[in-house]
Symmetry: C2
Subunit: 100 residues, 2 copies
């Protein structure tokens, strides 16, 4: 299962892009540094609870809504792992045969 | 709205107590220090994503399930704030009249 900060970062990034806003705009409104927001979005830094609240406020989204989305993404990631769908299905004899 | 680490801590604590397990048992299984787990449960320390995963594993609970519960608690806290229910309702003329 992926780590919380990775899925949280992807979710925040996807919401920001959905609003067609830049890192500069959102970080400025949330009063966090642009570098910090960028690292949080890339799952490289843990967002403190205070700064996470500020980022959600800047995006105009409830924290609860973000957590719902993160929870859903975690469950989907789990399903993908269990069902074994992924890049490995494309490798092996089938590809070799097609290439021959 | 309360901070994420506070609601997360309460949720983890409530799940541990529901399993009738001690801080010592769960922290040992999660390989985190007892003091750290205690601080996380009291909302005094941010849990890193890695340690949060370890704590969930030790409790035998999916992270997604914990996040669902946290999200629900945040929404309930929001409702309570909006509806204005709380200690302030009990103060004022009603109490004075009863005491008179």
């Amino acid at each position: 299962m992926p780590l919380l900060r990775q899925v949280l970062g992807e979710t925040l990034r996807s919401r920001r892009l959905g609003q067609e806003r830049t890192l500069r705009e959102v970080s400025g409104q949330a009063r966090v540094s642009l570098g910090y927001l960028s690292e949080v979005e890339r799952g490289q830094k843990e967002a403190s609870s205070e700064l996470l609240s500020a980022i959600c406020d800047a995006l105009g989204i409830e924290l609860a809504e973000i957590l719902d989305e993160v929870s859903l993404m975690l469950r989907l990631a789990d399903l993908t792992e269990v069902s074994g769908t992924g890049p490995t299905r494309a490798s092996g004899p089938v590809l070799s045969a097609a290439a021959a």
